[in-house]
Symmetry: C2
């Protein structure tokens, strides 16, 4: 299957490919990067997050000057007005900032989704340290560097690899209570600390499910489409559809085959 | 501080550097590697584990023909006789085999410890995908590729990054009960699925603690010395000394500064 595209997806890919090199270079000299905490000591912000977001904002205003940008940093973390704001871009300049700062083989990525009338049309996630780029076009498929990707066909939770995330500390107890049966029953559990990594691994068949209790739209908007176009399934934790701006936070994205079993053991 | 060495450490380093290339090559074509399950579907064994162990066994019998080998695979997973077996090598050919088979930026390593009269004298861990090698000599220090390494100085659990491991399924409930307060209180939690990765990250200051309820000697013998020589602390979960062949399984290895706080919240 040849990679399909559209103008917005080309725009995403060009930005991701161009910006990955900058992010990878900054990571190589990360001891020189300015790091600030956003309150919670684990919620970090670097100059690299801000620069990537600014570069995207500048390029967007040149290319699609009437479009709306929703992004994690700098006060752009808001819910768009669905009636007035038809074309919306949802960006996380670095998902996995803590990993950028620390970690042996860290996973972090740049996440960009383009929504039209509330629905994600196309999306891309770049992983700068691997110099690779996941892309998806609604109805057209999902690719990693031009190669079609597909979820795994593992069907049982006790044979599955499940990526979880413990969230910030104030949500930790709720997570442990609701997800304890998953932690008891999954074949393997991993926690890489970056939603884009957890979800894109589901999309490429390297794990079976990704679970998070408190995700923001910019954390999953792009990767959700990539996983769905790779044959996966995405819902809220009660099984209802996962929309980008419905104000809710729990996310389950899986290969589809283990989805029902995981939903059945998540506590309400 | 220049890297110090001894004959056995030179032997370890030469083996690790030579074997890393083979393992990295095999990983590149991992879809061709034969994988078997050792019972638990998550407990995998590949031809690469067996080949690395056999190469080490062959080289050991040429170089130190009277020494004893304890290793994860092929029936060598035994406790040596402390009175008769003075010089013992403890080897995990691939720690993190599941990660070798699956995962976006997987962490796995080759682990070799040399024990004399029951005490680890020198040790090495290689991470083939990063082409890097951690080494330690008791009383002489710890290095990554010749550069001295040092644990972090973060002192509070709520600012610490703690690497945990959920173990195989039969031990999962015990882990969740004993470690629940750590999961609630740690600043960041990661689960990379390879003890050598978790422990070497403590040694190099990239995280603050590593916790596992059911580790085998070959999983930690080498990395423990690396962490201790980098300024870290290693104990059982009740705070007693961590010895390689005492028949017990719980392991806490930290930067020292957060050790007491973690011990105080592990449930008995």
């Amino acid at each position: 299957m040849k990679q399909q595209t559209c103008g917005e997806l080309d725009f995403i890919e060009r930005f991701l490919r161009r910006t990955s090199g900058y992010v990878a270079e900054k990571w190589e000299s990360r001891h020189l990067v300015t790091v600030a905490s956003k309150g919670d000591p684990a919620d970090l912000l670097t100059e690299v997050d801000l620069t990537v977001q600014k570069r995207f904002a500048d390029l967007l205003s040149q290319t699609y000057p009437h479009d709306v940008l929703v992004a994690e940093e700098n006060g752009l973390d808001r819910v768009p007005d669905p009636s007035a704001e038809r074309r919306v871009w949802v960006v996380d300049p670095i998902d996995g900032t803590y990993n950028f700062v620390r970690g042996m083989r860290p996973i972090f990525g740049i996440s960009i989704a383009f929504l039209e009338n509330g629905e994600t049309r196309c999306a891309g996630v770049a992983f700068p340290l691997d110099n690779c780029c996941y892309l998806a076009l609604r109805g057209g498929g999902a690719w990693c560097d031009g190669r079609p990707i597909r979820v795994s066909d593992i069907k049982k939770l006790n044979e599955a690899c499940v990526e979880i995330d413990f969230s910030v500390m104030e949500d930790r107890r709720m997570f442990m209570e609701r997800a304890s049966d998953i932690m008891l029953r999954a074949g393997q559990i991993r926690c890489c600390g970056a939603a884009v990594g957890g979800i894109c691994q589901v999309a490429s068949g390297e794990s079976e499910a990704y679970l998070h209790m408190t995700l923001h739209p910019w954390d999953y908007a792009a990767a959700q489409l990539i996983a769905e176009e790779a044959g996966g399934m995405a819902t809220r934790l009660d099984g209802s559809p996962l929309r980008v701006f419905d104000g809710r936070q729990g996310v389950l994205i899986s290969n589809g085959a283990v989805h029902r079993e995981i939903l059945s053991v998540i506590r309400p």
